[in-house]
Symmetry: C2
Subunit: 328 residues, 2 copies
């Protein structure tokens, strides 16, 4: 249903989001390393969204959505980057925010969310229902729920990542062969694909996911929303059970498929980002780069853009990953 | 001698360098962290030159200088970032480059310099004279020596860092109270001061140096070029014995003084850059940030810009520093 999709998300809604975010979101650079390019025999461009406010692209969609609530309080569920994005967006807009987080979420993420001025409500994952808690808060405070991906304003905000990729490629006379972004609920890649394909219709736009959490790869292949098998992943930011209701029809129409990278490839990608790009990338943020480096996407003689979507990783884990001496 | 200085380095020569570097040097972002600002009670802006080509600001000055040799081969002495900057600049300009490096320089730095296509000549620090080796190469190849700081084109190239700081501050209606950059020979700070003070004459522009290598702080206080005491420092990029002959008269005229940070503060600054800015900063690149965080420059209620000048640090050392759990 292209008309219905276009009303949800289009280059126009992304441009409107870019206008709202101007001067607030970091205009993150599209970086490359001549030494890495020489090793790969191709051109790899990295959109450094780990440098975004709150340490991930989530700020873009969150700000765009929170700015459209007409000043009403907001509520969100998240144990991670969406929590910080919504909390900081609400802080900037002087709107009351309540974030419902599992009590066993990483302490720094809870502390950061509070530091952005949000009211954090903790719940017990095993005994409490976060939906019920959220519904109660929404009722009591007349708060608007800000969903992490199934929201047209969130998708449009994430699409500004794609708009900037297009602008930077055009400024350097680059036509990318492929563009990859990590996918959890699919909001980032829906926005990126919408913006990129409008200017570069021949580009292959693809999701990247960690092994075991390949619901987009499977759903795109099957043409319907399928769940992943789950299990354990180092990519804590990419654990949504299946593609979004609103994001999937868009992604099914626009994407060329989904790639998967295993944990060893993700760790290797984090080391490459450290060594060649001087960036701190969290595991979930590195999965698109991992897909390329591990051979899932041919790069020899081609130009590929990867989104490094976030950098919120604990020092201990990062140090452990750097300590693994592997050749790049 | 202001007229002599102005002919060596001016906003005009910096603008000319910016023109040559356009589309080649990374337009590095001026980043800040709302959480870090809240902790500091002030505004800290970080110019992320670790994201520059070759991993440090050195590429800017090297490219500007190499582009002015009229196609003649170039030769440089360096064990570190200047080597990579000159090698890559020569590669881009299709000019033959010979880099004279100590045989005991870090292997990755030698390998990277070779990977940029340079001819690397190794010498024994204890038994050979690098000046004599360089003079022989200059004679044999009719090569031009590219000095790391005492060169007007190098200083002008480094000054483009300052020009970008000015542009980004003006775009956000910021007037910085102070601007700090690491100093070894003093070329970066000379360029930055020239650009920044032209637009923000009230800003205090200062050097930052590691403890024991405080030749700028001492020389600026004394009004004459003094050497440091030396010793051991983690900041391998900042080991020049004394301020440059050409840089010092400029810096003496323009700078408000020099700050010093000890090794604990440098390590802490690297952790803060990791945690709040998602940047990989090498020890020498973190010393301006370290000076602010350790209280050497008051930031409460003020706006301070620090240059994070490079990110070429080994994974092992970075992991070790992250592993030290210190409060920020």
């Amino acid at each position: 249903m292209p008309p219905a999709d276009a009303s949800l998300l289009s280059v126009e809604t992304i441009r409107a989001a870019a206008f709202r975010l101007a001067g607030l979101a970091v205009r993150t650079p599209l970086l490359e390393s001549p030494l890495l390019n020489a090793k790969l025999g191709g051109r790899l461009l990295a959109k450094a969204e780990c440098l975004q406010r709150t340490g991930s692209f989530k700020f873009r969609g969150a700000y765009n959505a929170v700015s459209m609530t007409g000043g009403r309080p907001v509520v969100a569920f998240s144990s991670g980057n969406h929590a910080q994005g919504v909390a900081h967006a609400a802080e900037l807009l002087k709107i009351r925010a309540t974030i419902v987080m599992p009590a066993d979420a990483p302490r720094t993420k809870i502390e950061n969310t509070r530091a952005y001025g949000a009211n954090v409500v903790l719940y017990d994952r095993r005994t409490e229902d976060r939906e019920a808690i959220g519904a109660r808060i929404a009722l009591e405070e007349e708060a608007v729920l800000v969903r992490p991906y199934d929201d047209p304003f969130v998708m449009a905000g994430q699409g500004t990542v794609g708009l900037e990729i297009v602008e930077d490629c055009q400024a350097r006379s680059i036509v990318p062969d492929a563009v990859l972004a990590p996918a959890s609920g699919g909001g980032l890649i829906a926005g990126v694909a919408t913006a990129v394909l409008d200017s570069f219709p021949s580009a292959e736009v693809m999701t990247a996911e960690p092994a075991g959490f390949d619901d987009h790869a499977r759903s795109l292949a099957a043409g319907e929303r399928l769940s992943h098998d789950g299990g354990v992943t180092i990519c804590d930011a990419l654990m949504s059970p299946r593609p979004g209701e609103l994001t999937f029809p868009i992604n099914r129409r626009l994407l060329a498929g989904g790639k998967v990278a295993d944990e060893a490839a993700v760790r290797q990608a984090m080391r490459v980002a450290f060594q060649y790009l001087k960036l701190v990338v969290e595991p979930g943020g590195a999965v698109a780069l991992a897909s390329v480096l591990s051979g899932g996407v041919p790069i020899h003689g081609r130009t590929i853009v990867v989104v490094l979507s976030g950098g919120n990783v604990d020092a201990g884990l990062f140090a452990e990953i750097l300590g693994q001496e592997a050749d790049t």
